[in-house]
């Protein structure tokens, strides 16, 4: 049994774009993805600050002189990859659509559910 799985990223159905240039919608999605990741970071820093306050000090020079080991560097690289996955989520999701040609047009879907016969 695999330890984890990858669920579909894209919901079946044509995605509506609201601006004349769909790239504007894509940028909106990216900006909000980025905002989300900044908020995640802010929560993490907040957790750190609160824990540090409770458990005692950390010196700034300890941070400045910190050298990540290979393992830490690899962990950070993996984090950055996941981070970019969040920011560029919409690009990835739409790529899934290129190989998924089974979507009816959205108007066809509306018509189908309203008029479906045996």
């Amino acid at each position: 049994m695999t330890e984890s799985t990858r669920l579909k990223r894209r919901a079946k159905g044509q995605r509506p774009f609201f601006f004349d240039d769909p790239n504007v919608d894509r940028i909106v999605a990216m900006v909000m993805g980025l905002a989300g990741e900044v908020a995640v970071m802010r929560d993490r820093m907040d957790t750190m600050e609160r824990l540090l306050e409770k458990t005692g000090g950390l010196k700034r020079k300890d941070i400045d002189s910190y050298k990540p080991t290979a393992k830490v560097a690899a962990e950070r690289a993996a984090w950055r990859e996941a981070f970019l996955g969040e920011v560029l989520r919409i690009v990835e999701a739409e790529l899934e659509g290129l190989s998924d040609d089974s979507d009816p047009s959205y108007d066809e879907a509306i018509k189908m559910v309203q008029t479906e016969k045996d």
């Binding site: 984890s4 919901a11 995640v40 509306i110 479906e116 016969k117």
Partner: protein, 391 residues
């Protein structure tokens, strides 16, 4: 705003989240709350102050229906940005709920059915041969990737796990810590309005993960409770969750249009936001099936978002957002269907039919609710629309 709503109750089956996964989900909730509080109302401002006055100047009348409003609003920059943001929040919501489930996938499989059976006496009956109706496969309803039904492994309950968490984020906690406000409010209404019903057998249609089913087990501890859905991943999760919450419920994989229960075998049949996800044909079949399954004097009640009837064209247009933009193809039609005729069609006596707005029983401060029905603000109204009939 909704920040006073509690967090979700962490029952044993709820997927565990890491610090950052949780923070990501919290962000989506804040993002949605921000849209409700700061962005959504801008559409009304634009409409009232600019779009409608301009239309009246040109045509000497106000826009007559939601279609005219839609044509006018669809080019408004604020509406476009609102829509792009709301759609994106929906996609990020699913994504943020998926990640912990992907990571915990194998644990979920192990935890799922095997570990959960037999504690309360609740059961799970699956039917792998059941055909998933076209209205659930044409598009992935409300943009959950893979919909309710997709399975990636034998015994998969990941769609249910994703849904459980996503509903809490979607409603911004407005359904309470158990996501159960619709069922709980309806059960409370039944106690007040139908104290003599004393149901012995209750059926919940289209139960998904059983959010609305569990409150009936609490409200009617002596009743036998059945719940059906077409999607196996939802039911596996629903069963495990109900057992974790100590609620005895009999789940089975069936299409609510054609059920295998005996004629006249239920005192009470309920559904919660099911009907708008079906089709013209299915909604009629479901009504007929309710009539067949109820005993004489039995009651069916369906909870939905309110009908467009009586709304201003602008309000109907805003509530219709999901139909066009959130993969809800039957939403528009189901909000305009003649409920009297629907009930009559199923051989109920329409004089025994009713439509009502009932209060939410989840006690959030009124000041914390948006008090309106609008796309992307599920539960914000603090009221639920119900309709039904006595047989």
């Amino acid at each position: 705003m909704q920040t006073t709503a509690e967090g979700q109750f962490e029952h044993k089956i709820l997927p565990k989240t890491s610090h950052d996964e949780f923070a990501r989900q919290e962000f989506v909730r804040s993002y949605k709350e921000f849209l409700v509080k700061h962005v959504h109302h801008g559409n009304r401002v634009v409409y009232d102050q600019k779009v409608q006055p301009e239309f009246i100047r040109q045509h000497q009348r106000a826009p007559k229906d939601r279609f005219e409003v839609r044509d006018l609003m669809s080019t408004e920059p604020h509406y476009r940005m609102f829509s792009a943001l709301l759609r994106t929040s929906q996609e990020m919501m699913w994504s943020s709920a998926q990640k912990p489930v992907e990571r915990e996938f194998s644990k979920m499989l192990r935890r799922g059915v095997a570990k959960s059976s037999g504690k309360t006496g609740g059961t799970l009956r699956l039917n792998p041969a059941l055909e998933i109706p076209k209205y659930l496969t044409a598009v992935d309803i409300h943009c959950q990737p893979g919909g309710y039904h997709t399975e990636t492994a034998e015994g998969d309950c990941s769609a249910g796990a994703v849904y459980d968490r996503a509903v809490h984020i979607y409603a911004m906690g407005q359904l309470g810590p158990y996501n159960d406000d619709m069922g709980a409010s309806l059960a409370e209404w039944l106690n007040v309005r139908h104290p003599d019903l004393e149901p012995k057998r209750i059926l919940d249609l289209g139960c998904s993960v059983g959010h609305s089913t569990v409150p009936y087990a609490r409200a009617f501890p002596d009743a036998e409770i059945h719940a059906v859905d077409v999607a196996a991943p939802m039911l596996r999760y629903a069963h495990a969750r109900a057992e974790a919450l100590g609620a005895k419920i009999h789940f089975s994989q069936q299409n609510a249009e054609r059920l295998d229960f005996d004629d006249g075998s239920f005192d009470l049949i309920v559904s919660h936001i099911l009907l708008h996800e079906t089709s013209e044909k299915a909604i009629h079949n479901i009504m007929r099936e309710c009539h067949r399954l109820l005993r004489k004097g039995g009651l069916m009640v369906h909870a939905e978002t309110p009908q467009y009837k009586g709304m201003t064209p602008f309000d109907a247009f805003m509530l219709d957002w999901d139909a066009q933009n959130n993969n809800e193809p039957f939403w528009s039609r189901s909000h305009e269907i003649d409920l009297n005729r629907l009930v009559e069609y199923a051989a109920f006596d329409s004089s025994q039919g009713f439509e009502e707005m009932i209060p939410s029983c989840y006690s959030m401060s009124e000041a914390d609710r948006s008090q309106v029905f609008q796309g992307g603000d599920f539960g914000g109204g603090g009221l639920w629309f119900i309709f039904g009939a006595t047989k």
